[in-house]
């Protein structure tokens, strides 16, 4: 805008086109954004699953067997696989976001992004291994 708009007592109503509810399907970038945001549902689903498992454990071996039988349903496995893809997507986008959200400077220069993201991935590998080791009984 070259000229500042003349002063008006009442703000003129802006012309705004209504954005479609499906705006995020128009570009791959925004579609990926919505996919990332929807990973929240996979995380919530996982918490529900984990609480169900713990509840079953507290209710005795029969309930644990029942839980395992439920998990073997092909539909549940398929659903879990989709949820797994979403949480993996969450992890990767989250780790890659760290250097953008918290740039680290050394001598006034920004460290390359991979150097900030790398410790996240290292922690991911180590923590995943420790958890698996604990669950599999230290074998």
């Amino acid at each position: 805008m070259k000229q500042p708009p003349a002063y008006t007592l009442y703000h003129p109503k802006w012309y705004r086109k209504r954005v479609s509810t499906w705006w995020w399907t128009e570009q791959w970038r925004s579609f990926k954004f919505i996919l990332r945001e929807l990973s929240s549902l996979a995380v919530i689903y996982f918490v529900a699953l984990l609480l169900w498992l713990l509840w079953s454990l507290g209710r005795g071996p029969d309930k644990y067997l029942e839980f395992q039988a439920w998990m073997k349903d092909p539909l549940v496995i398929a659903f879990n696989l989709i949820a797994l893809l979403f949480v993996l997507y969450h992890s990767i986008t989250w780790f890659n976001l760290a250097p953008k959200a918290m740039p680290i400077r050394v001598d006034g220069k920004r460290l390359p992004e991979w150097m900030v993201a790398a410790p996240n991935y290292a922690a991911w590998v180590v923590i995943s291994a420790v958890i698996a080791w604990l669950i599999l009984g230290g074998k």
């Binding site: 954005v19 509810t21 995020w24 919505i34 945001e37 929807l38 990973s39 929240s40 549902l41 995380v43 919530i44 996982f46 918490v47 529900a48 699953l49 984990l50 609480l51 498992l53 713990l54 509840w55 454990l57 507290g58 071996p61 644990y64 067997l65 395992q68 998990m71 073997k72 549940v76 496995i77 879990n80 696989l81 949820a83 797994l84 949480v87 993996l88 969450h90 992890s91 989250w94 780790f95 996240n120 922690a123 991911w124 923590i127 995943s128 958890i131 698996a132 604990l134 669950i135 599999l136 009984g137």
Partner: protein, 116 residues
């Protein structure tokens, strides 16, 4: 005096939950949701899994994982509804629904973990 915003507090829960979920959820979901049911890896027996889950440190860790992941999910899902569906006028209702759900889930997690 300007009204103080809750947003920084909610964002810190979102951020802590996002980190913890990113680190621990994939391996747990892979094991219990895919690898054990498909028999790729032998599932742990009842006794050993119960012993692990009943350990005070494990309960504390699982409680933190559940609660923070729920607040992370609630915050993110709130903005998914907000941006994705453009229902900004329902902001309060959505916030109550999302964070309220996270609070209820946290209480439930506390009860279940206490009761193991």
């Amino acid at each position: 005096m300007a009204k103080r915003s809750n947003e920084p507090f909610l964002w810190s829960l979102f951020s802590a939950g996002g980190m913890i979920a990113a680190l621990v959820v994939p391996v747990l979901l892979f094991l219990f949701g895919v690898a054990f049911p498909l028999g790729w890896i032998e599932a742990p027996g009842y006794g050993s899994l119960l012993a692990l889950a009943a350990h005070p440190l494990a309960r504390l860790a699982v409680f933190a994982i559940c609660s923070l992941s729920l607040f992370h999910g609630a915050h993110r899902f709130r903005f998914t509804l907000y941006d994705g569906l453009q229902i900004k006028h329902l902001n309060e209702l959505i916030a109550i629904f999302c964070y309220g759900g996270a609070v209820i889930g946290t209480a439930l997690a506390g009860y279940i973990l206490w009761d193991i």
